[in-house]
Every structure is written in C-alpha cells, then in structure tokens.
C-alpha cells in the first residue's frame, strides 16, 4: 500500500516536471550506472503497468528510465564484440523503447524479463547484421595509393572473361542449331532425346526411366542414344 502511494506520488511529480518542462541538472554517463535512477520495485512496476494500456507517456517514460540500468548491464556483456559501448547502449535503449511500447500487460510476465529479451535481441540482431556487412567489400574500396596519391580501386582490377558478351549469343545460336538438327530425327528418336536431356521441361530422366516409359530395355536406349548423338553431331557439322 505504501509502495502504491509512493509510486503514485512519484508519477504525479514526474507529470509536474513534464508539464513544466523541468529536468534534473545531472549529466549521466554510460560508465557509471550509479547515476541512473534505481529500478522499480515489483509493487511500483505493477502500479505503472496498470496505467500503461492508456498510452500514458509519463508512465512510459518512467518505465523506460527505471530500466536503463538493465540496458547498461546487458550492453556491457557485449563489450568484447568490437562495437563501442556507447553504440551498444544506444541499441539497447532502442530495444527498451520497443519493449515498453509492445509489452502486453495481459501476459503473465515481468516487464524486466520481457525487456531483457528485447534489449539482448536488439543487440544480437545488430551484431549479426554488422558481421554480414563486414564480409562485404565495396567496388570502390581503395587497395593502394601510388606516389602521386592516385587510388587503385577494387573496380580497377576487376575484369570479366573475354567471352562474357559473346557466350550468351553463341548459346542462343547453338540452341537454334540443335533444334534444327533435332527436326531431322524420327519421332521416337526425338522423344528419347527430349526425355533424356529434359529438352521440354528441364528434367533429365535416366536411361532406365526412359526405357521403362517406352517399354524397351535400358541397353537398347543406350545404343539408340549413342547413335542419335552421332547423327546429331553430323547434322551439326553440316550446318556450321
């Protein structure tokens, strides 16, 4: 009961400060959590959470401020990741703001538990993205600088194979020639080639599959295939 009155009084005081636009004169440093406001007691948190669904900004502010120690505590756990502590605390603060804004008071879970998960998750997501970006290299990455100060960029030394442009065109011509050569085959030979090399649907079937479909032996398919390919090669040579 005393705690309820205390937090109610604090909230009113908070609102007055808000209304007047007054702030405390302290400067808070990330390194020293002793300057941060103390965490809420269970009773205080309960009182504030009953007011949270009313979208009360004073309540939100208080819940965020009184959980800032949690942000610093969690951020410090990631101190060895190469990201500076100020950034980690900022990311954690974003996680805390998200936590207070998305907290469901209907669920039987403590805000601090939910906020811890949100803060940690926010930092982990950032670190994961950061590691991904680290492995990416820009085309404009300077590799070296000569005596005159000219930068040698990665894009300067990147090249393509000589036939990159012509390869696609040649592929198109080959496809047309193959189609012409296939027209010279009998219907059964065409079916075998289409099934074996997936010419109509892109799915290549085994000799056994084709043999089963056409009701002939696999060894016969093998012989036919060799013969057809030999014929196609001849037709090809005639066309080139």
């Amino acid at each position: 009961m005393l705690a309820k009155w205390k937090i109610q009084w604090l909230l009113t005081w908070y609102r007055i400060l808000f209304f007047l636009g007054l702030k405390t004169e302290e400067v808070h440093y990330i390194g020293g959590s002793e300057t941060l406001p103390p965490p809420l007691t269970r009773e205080e948190e309960e009182v504030l959470l009953t007011k949270l669904p009313n979208v009360d900004n004073a309540v939100k502010s208080m819940l965020i401020e009184r959980n800032l120690r949690l942000v610093v505590y969690i951020a410090r756990k990631f101190d060895n990741t190469g990201v500076n502590i100020e950034d980690l605390v900022s990311i954690g603060s974003i996680g805390l703001i998200k936590a207070v804004n998305t907290f469901d008071t209907g669920k039987n879970i403590k805000l601090a538990t939910y906020a811890s998960r949100c803060i940690e998750n926010e930092i982990l997501m950032f670190l994961r993205r950061n590691n991904k970006v680290k492995t990416e290299v820009s085309f404009d990455e300077p590799l070296n600088i000569d005596w005159d100060g000219n930068e040698l960029l990665l894009s300067d030394i990147l090249g393509t194979e000589n036939d990159t442009i012509s390869k696609g065109l040649e592929h198109e011509v080959d496809k047309k020639l193959l189609k012409k050569a296939l027209d010279k085959l009998s219907d059964r030979e065409k079916v075998i080639m289409k099934l074996r090399f997936g010419l109509h649907d892109g799915v290549e079937k085994t000799q056994k599959d084709v043999a089963d479909m056409l009701g002939i032996s696999q060894s016969y398919i093998s012989r036919l295939e060799k013969r057809i390919i030999k014929r196609l090669r001849k037709e090809f040579n005639k066309m080139i």
């Binding site: 808000f18 808070h28 502010s61 800032l68 974003i94 993205r129």
Partner: protein, 61 residues
C-alpha cells in the same frame, strides 16, 4: 494523450513537439518513438537512431 506544457526539441527529428516521452535529458516525440519501434537493424535509418540516441546520456540542456 499526455502533453507537456512547452514544446520541446525532439532529439531525433529536431522538431519542436509537445507530445512524447522524456528519458533523462532527452525528449523523443511520439512520431519518432513510433518510428523507432518500427525500425529494424537492416533499415537505413537505424544507424541514425543509434547516433541520436546518445543524446539521452550526455545532453545537458
């Protein structure tokens, strides 16, 4: 919706607003707070929020 008497400068967008949350010495307007909630680490604006968020800890105004 809770309003402050005087409009304050939002540490995120720099606009003078009345509605928002106050954390330490920093004021974040409702619009920016809402944007923060819906911004993911992959988003372009995320690094901007990280930088601006530092104002919460050192702002002395």
């Amino acid at each position: 919706m809770y309003k402050t008497n005087e409009a304050k400068f939002c540490i995120m967008c720099g606009h003078k607003e009345k509605e928002g949350i106050m954390i330490h010495k920093g004021f974040i307007c409702d619009e920016c707070a809402n944007e923060i909630v819906h911004t993911e680490v992959e988003d372009e604006k995320y690094s901007f929020f990280i930088q601006r968020m530092k104002e919460l800890w050192v702002k002395n105004a």
